[in-house]
Symmetry: C2
Subunit: 444 residues, 2 copies
């Protein structure tokens, strides 16, 4: 039986105590606890749509609270009405008359939107019995584009242009799909280079990643220039100069600091500097890019780029050379499609932000779609990979020789195991109770 | 006795049923209920700091929830520690390691920041026994600037430059203060021109405002071009062409639509078009300004400009000719000072957004400070005025001949009457209970 409507929305505050190992530590976020509001959309059948957004601990409950407030706009809705005019529904929930004031389309309410919209796409893919990427790949361009709200981006991308971009790459879709299934999508790993890791830990992790087939690595920078240079040297000694190596400052610098600091690190040949400054500073990024591109360093950003309107301007201003879409920051697949298509128009490669919890599971679908239907190329493209927390998912990513293999289970790969939910619901889950009792964690 | 620390933070969800009269209706917000999270900072004496942020109804509870989450960073704090290094404290609460992920510095958490920081400035002014504007005016430039976090704006304004701007206008402060006390600060009124008002209502309100001394008026546009032109004609017939008249689209248009629409309305000689498109679209605003400035129309924006980093770019890109700072959208006085000083550097006049509930009470202090210490000029400058909801404040704004008179009570003028709080706390207040019982309002 096919579900016809949403009958309930349940959201759970899940957190993982990653700060205990300094996993995820960087120049701005010393001790993150990877977390997610986990949304389940109940239907009038057994089928459930699952979705998340991502946070790094404190404030995860604020997003859960916002999801609950927004759930009134979803519960009781007919699925035909949603999927038949998905752009319309998307605008309805992102531009609700009173609620939009506390965004609009940014921050807490947009993160909440992502969790809900991700769950809807998961449900849609499950109804069609396809992995999300395949649902997208099989859709006619007109139908696919009908899910996008073009408000505020029509000066750069019209509906007609979007359809034309998709038409252009239509003929060789089947061969690219086959190609990708056989070789997988290129990845890079961030797991070796967190700021809080010792040299010994880095050495061990790089050796392990290399043995697993990784040839692309990212390292965190921005706390101390001398220390960055030392670690950069160590990293390059481990991997050599034939491998791809990037650095990430997580918004640590002002504009001029970013330029100065990266000139100092340029001898280590980073492919890109990621998040050199505020994610809101489009013109600042453009100035940094203008200074660093001539010495071979690109600018990458996107994980905190709040919406398609900001991405539009980053592209217009040449503020990024690598477009790091985020499955949980943008308002779900609808808005991500808009950004992928704008990036294609500007010839900028998509390199999704992933990691945290569940984001690798999500973004693989987006890059696979991008390759098959939009870019038609893997050049300069790769998906971030982190080897944390995959064990909690029913269909976790499967890596092979440093590549993402193409997922085959229906949906958006984000269903979590019941046991993991019971363990990590905050603050009452079994794992958290143990941590509090042991005194190794203080409840926020 | 002078208070030494914050011992508690109480936040209340206050809402006013303004949608019943279509007060505040515009092209994007058909039926707002002006609302505010109302923060009271309790100290170890009887003195209480009061602060608000502003919303238009639904979602006010989400911001209250965020304020409560952030209150842990405030309760127990020593006031010397806060006011002694206010920039440091400001960064602490806006860049909290984990929490910043769900902003940063935007949306729900930044609105919550505004409510808390506004309450701190209210408390500081009360401790000094001065209205807020006077606290600012009497501060040495170095001290004033020490409250600003220059992160992400140093490429456009350094601490040194900020101090120099203040030094420049120091010598004639006293005479400007006297001058303003005698004549008041120019205002314009928005109360006559809401989108949902009939022609008859507009006529009556314009007559009333004119009798009160107003010579500057704003009208809402953007729903229907023909209707806009008709109402514009009506409005100009009422006030003539010697009065100042502005229009406000509240983000209704895409970039090209804004240009086309305003070319059609240009015969009615609006001084500015306010919020022509998304508040996030800096480059879009710049394109609109480039097209409309030659035909005598400026671009105004700011009420949903999320932070100083966005304002910085609006100024850099010439995306605005009138800088509409918002006391509740920016993270309190500290960040507003940064924007006022950047605008001064670019020679752009400050015309604060006000209205809603309590925003007139707040922003008057900011413009008074701007005139006395920064701009030294009233040319092209005015404060928005709406005649709603002032009756709920202990020290409401006092208008005289269409000008704001200079407030004299200690603090930031935002203390509300106990009775109003008891009436309008949502959803349990007496006024709300009555509305629900009468069936004239459905609880969200």
């Amino acid at each position: 039986m096919t579900p016809t409507k949403i009958v309930d929305l349940i959201v759970k505050d899940l957190r993982f105590p990653t700060s205990l190992e300094q996993d995820g530590s960087d120049a701005m976020h010393k001790a993150p606890d990877f977390s997610c509001p986990y949304v389940e959309l109940k239907t009038d059948t057994d089928l459930t749509g699952c979705g998340i957004t991502f946070t790094i601990g404190k404030g995860n409950d604020i997003v859960c609270y916002a999801v609950k407030a927004m759930s009134k706009m979803v519960i009781g809705k007919n699925l035909d009405a949603i999927f038949g005019d998905f752009a319309g529904f998307w605008r309805e929930i992102t531009s609700e008359d009173q609620m939009r004031w506390i965004g609009p389309e940014k921050g807490v309410v947009h993160l909440a939107t992502a969790a809900i919209v991700n769950a809807l796409w998961d449900l849609w893919a499950k109804i069609e019995g396809k992995p999300l990427w395949k649902l997208l790949v099989d859709m006619e361009p007109e139908k696919l584009v009908s899910t996008i709200d073009f408000r505020y981006i029509s000066d750069v991308l019209t509906k007609k242009e979007a359809i034309e971009i998709l038409q252009l790459k239509k003929s060789e879709k089947t061969s690219r799909e086959k190609d990708l299934i056989s070789r997988g999508y290129p990845a890079y790993t961030t797991s070796c280079g967190w700021l809080g890791y010792s040299d010994e830990k880095i050495t061990k992790l790089v050796e392990k990643a290399t043995a697993q087939g990784f040839t692309r690595f990212k390292m965190k920078v921005g706390a101390d220039l001398e220390d960055d240079a030392r670690r950069a040297k160590h990293f390059r000694e481990l991997i050599g100069y034939d491998k791809v190596w990037m650095v990430d400052a997580n918004q640590k610098w002002d504009v001029q600091d970013a330029i100065d600091w990266m000139c100092q690190l340029s001898e280590f040949k980073p492919l890109w500097i990621e998040e050199p400054t505020s994610p809101d500073d489009i013109l600042g990024h453009a100035k940094i890019a203008e200074a660093l591109n001539p010495i071979g360093i690109g600018v990458a950003t996107g994980e905190q780029c709040q919406n398609r309107i900001m991405f539009k301007q980053f592209l217009q201003a040449k503020g990024l050379q690598y477009c790091q879409i985020d499955a949980c920051r943008l308002g779900g697949v609808n808005e991500i499609l808009a950004v992928i298509l704008m990036a294609a128009k500007f010839g900028v490669p998509i390199c999704p932000h992933a990691g945290g919890v569940g984001m690798c599971e999500l973004v693989q679908h987006l890059s696979i779609f991008d390759y098959i239907c939009v870019s038609g190329s893997l050049e300069g493209r790769m998906i971030e990979y982190l080897d944390h927390l995959h064990e909690h998912f029913i269909h976790p990513v499967v890596m092979k020789d440093g590549n993402y293999t193409v997922p085959q289970s229906p949906g958006y790969s984000i269903d979590m195991k019941d046991e993991s939910i019971a363990d990590y619901e905050y603050p009452t889950g079994r794992a958290w109770k143990k941590l509090f009792e042991a005194g190794s964690f203080i409840q926020h």
